[in-house]
């Protein structure tokens, strides 16, 4: 009988302690991406593009070449990178504000172009980095610093279902939503993220994966309460699932 490591920090992750708040599931997502990079053995072949948002420092945690983008423009930056290096794996990670508010045009058109990149979208239904303002994904009734009485759909409208929306486009090869609120979903999330990378590697086209995540700090809840709040409030509006898989044509 000998002891074997069944879980360790992935090799393509640095030793740096992450800056995320305690219990913020951004950290889980960072790790899953590194695990996928390890499993596909593409660390030396990958260029990552980051957001402006709480994950802005992700270059400190992934041991890969990295390109910063301006707020919302990661898909455009990734397009520039991919066109220069069509043989490399290019992926981006963005928050909900980044991808579904200011960056709507860029993600829609990266998808429409069928750009061969993998886009990860961390949906925590709030602007984390700037201190808890309403996001495009904020649930109706959810309190944020800019919807002090809760999001009022009459004034501020409805959450954007970006991932479903992108599935409508012919350029989108893969579109799915996952969550990381419990171990089973974490495992599933990793599979889906991996698939998004594989879709790119196989040249099948554009892939988007939305990942539901928590923001204990700005939700004003403990990490454990946040997990629960996600399950009870976000999941019903943003159901988990694959909306489009390669080969499907929407029309």
């Amino acid at each position: 009988m000998s002891a074997a490591k069944v879980f360790t920090k992935p090799a393509s992750m640095t030793d740096k302690i992450m800056h995320f708040c305690p219990g913020c599931t951004h950290g889980i997502i960072q790790r899953l991406v590194a695990e996928v990079i390890d499993e596909l053995d593409i660390r030396e072949n990958t260029i990552a593009v980051g957001p402006v948002g709480c994950a802005v420092f992700c270059y400190d945690y992934w041991d890969v070449d990295f390109h910063q983008a301006s707020h919302g423009r990661a898909p455009a930056v990734a397009t520039g990178v991919k066109r220069v290096h069509p043989d490399k794996v290019v992926f981006s990670l963005q928050g909900d504000g980044d991808i579904a508010a200011i960056g709507t045009t860029e993600i829609v058109h990266a998808a429409a172009r069928g750009e061969k990149i993998s886009c990860l979208f961390v949906n925590n239904s709030i602007y984390g980095m700037t201190g808890g303002q309403m996001a495009p994904t904020t649930i109706v009734g959810q309190k944020t610093t800019t919807t002090p009485g809760g999001r009022d759909s009459n004034m501020a409208g409805y959450p954007v279902k970006l991932t479903e929306m992108l599935a409508v486009l012919d350029g989108t090869a893969y579109s799915a939503r996952v969550s990381v609120h419990n171990p089973a979903n974490v495992i599933k999330a990793k599979k889906v993220i991996k698939k998004a990378f594989e879709v790119q590697i196989k040249g099948e086209g554009f892939a988007i994966v939305e990942i539901l995540s928590t923001c204990p700090t700005n939700w004003g809840l403990s990490p454990v309460e946040s997990i629960k709040w996600l399950e009870e409030n976000i999941l019903p509006y943003f159901p988990i699932g694959e909306f489009k898989t390669p080969g499907e044509v929407s029309r």
């Binding site: 800056h19 995320f20 708040c21 700090t217």
Partner: protein, 183 residues
């Protein structure tokens, strides 16, 4: 009178609100006041400090680079702010959290084990920073304890006013400590 105070510690230690209370009290006493916060680069839980200026003249610059007093709530802040303190300035340290090994001898130094004091004397570690505030006021007489209590009334929401007596106790406890230590 021109008092230029820096309070420094971790985010979440109440550093900002201590500064605001003093500023508010100064205003209540019709002094000229200013408060400037400064957050470290970390998102949460990193270092944080604020600068308070209280003066009976108009304040030229509210930016404090050579403070007359410094309150230190964590170790890194000691290293950072010790050199900036004016000669003859007041250095207040929460010795429950910071081990002071002071390289300068041109200062008035007061070390308060305020977490222990809070725990032992008031049975509530939450007011550790208020104890330090009391000691600061006793040592500088910049504002009165009454004014601080007055500002607490304005700053705290109505439903928290029941905490005011405890805070006054803490202020007085700190003041007493300072009196005894005779800085």
């Amino acid at each position: 009178m021109l008092e230029e105070l820096i309070i420094a510690g971790f985010g979440g230690q109440g550093v900002m609100s201590m500064g605001q209370l003093i500023t508010y009290a100064g205003m209540i006493e019709n002094k000229n006041v200013a408060w400037i916060p400064s957050y470290g680069p970390e998102m949460r839980g990193g270092t944080a400090n604020c600068a308070v200026t209280i003066s009976d003249r108009e304040i030229s610059s509210p930016v404090v680079t050579e403070p007359t007093s410094v309150i230190i709530m964590n170790q890194p802040s000691l290293t950072r702010f010790l050199p900036t303190l004016k000669p003859g300035g007041l250095l207040l340290i929460n010795s429950s959290l910071v081990s002071a090994d002071i390289s300068r001898n041109d200062l008035r130094v007061l070390e308060i084990p305020s977490n222990e004091l809070a725990n032992e004397k008031l049975n509530n570690t939450r007011v550790a920073n208020i104890i330090i505030l009391g000691a600061y006021i006793e040592s500088t007489k910049v504002v009165t304890i009454d004014s601080i209590v007055e500002s607490l009334k304005k700053v705290l929401p109505e439903r928290r006013h029941n905490l005011i007596p405890l805070n006054r106790q803490a202020l007085e406890l700190g003041a007493e400590f300072a009196r005894l230590a005779k800085v």
